[in-house]
């Protein structure tokens, strides 16, 4: 089966750019918080040096916020590193549940901007697939982007990876406005090219308010 490289390449580059920009924005936010809290510690030190009595509790809050942000920054960078390495090999043994968690974390800021909460339902055991990691992530993102637009009043999207006979599945559920959504253009050319590359299928269940992405255990024979 021939891959539509032109579409996959263009879509992939857009996806990589979008995620990288979002990650860099998040890192800037972390740095801004550390900057303000370090500045506050400096202010308190100057006050103490001038002989002003400072309650030790005043040092505690900025110090703990800095620690928290360093942890957050570390998590963001770990995610970025995993994402960047997803282009290393054409095929890789992956845990779909783990990939979904990574995509949820990378998409969190986009969700927050739209006032949507992503709820990841954990799988009871690993959900193995042998596939192209980057194309898989790109496809998950496009489906997630569409799903967020169908979240409706509850503003929540539930995500779950699960095993199925002969493969694996990602379920995007509780999409309250899916029935009202304009699904004529989804999946579009980009999604279709990625689905074809991964030998995956996408089914929209309007009544169930769910979107299912199904994958074979192995994307290429």
């Amino acid at each position: 089966m021939s891959w539509n490289w032109e579409v996959i390449g263009e879509t992939g580059l857009q996806f990589f750019g979008k995620m990288s920009a979002s990650i860099s924005h998040e890192i800037k936010n972390v740095m801004a918080i550390i900057n303000e809290n370090a500045g506050l510690l400096e202010d308190l030190t100057v006050m103490a040096e001038k002989g002003m009595p400072i309650d030790p509790q005043r040092w505690k809050a900025p110090a703990s916020r800095i620690m928290k942000q360093i942890q957050r920054g570390d998590d963001i960078i770990k995610g970025m590193n995993r994402f960047a390495h997803s282009v290393d090999e054409p095929l890789r043994q992956m845990d779909l549940s783990d990939t979904l968690a990574l995509m949820g974390a990378l998409s969190d800021r986009f969700a927050a901007m739209r006032g949507v909460t992503l709820v990841l339902e954990s799988a009871s055991s690993p959900v193995p697939v042998l596939t192209n990691a980057f194309i898989l992530q790109n496809l998950i993102w496009l489906c997630l982007d569409f799903a967020m637009g169908c979240a409706g009043a509850s503003k929540t999207v539930f995500l779950k990876a699960e095993k199925r006979e002969g493969g694996a599945k990602i379920r995007f559920s509780k999409l309250q406005d899916l029935a009202k959504a304009e699904t004529g253009s989804f999946p579009g050319e980009r999604e279709r090219a990625l689905l074809q590359a991964l030998k995956a299928d996408l089914v929209i269940y309007k009544e169930m308010k769910e979107l299912h992405l199904t994958f074979p255990v192995q994307a290429e024979g």
Partner: protein, 142 residues
């Protein structure tokens, strides 16, 4: 005179630290993580300056800026952003932002901008009063 400032950002840990530092510098500071609440606060209170994050959940910072300027044209708004692009800066200034500062911000620079904002707002308010007086005098044929 202490400046009355409204800080708007969705990062609470950022707001808390910046508000404390500004208060320590004699400013009167209100904070909110919500764009909708920021609009409400602007409607209800007279602020000298608003320091507004460009990337706010649910409502884009530029939209918040436009709405605030419609409600309070004299209000001076300083935008904060993770990444300042020329396009966004031009848009922000076009919609009436006083300035555009990249995060992490230097508090000295920001404080200076807030002083300028306060002075600028006072000029605008005085101008508005003068215009009202002029109009009234014309109406009464004084």
């Amino acid at each position: 005179m202490s400046e009355k400032v409204l800080l708007v950002d969705d990062e609470e840990d950022f707001l808390d630290a910046m508000a404390t530092r500004m208060k320590d510098r004699g400013m009167e500071v209100s904070t909110t993580t919500s764009a909708a609440e920021a609009l409400k606060k602007v409607e209800e209170g007279a602020y000298d300056a608003v320091v507004l994050d460009l990337m706010m959940p649910e409502m884009d910072g530029l939209e918040v800026l436009k709405t605030m300027k419609v409600k309070r044209p004299e209000l001076q708004i300083i935008l904060l952003t993770g990444h300042a692009t020329v396009q966004k800066s031009v848009e922000a200034i076009k919609f009436g932002a006083m300035d555009f500062i990249e995060k992490p911000a230097d508090l000295k620079v920001l404080t200076e901008k807030i002083h300028q904002a306060s002075a600028q707002k006072m000029v605008l308010v005085e101008k508005k009063i003068q215009e009202k007086i002029k109009k009234l005098m014309q109406e009464k044929a004084w």
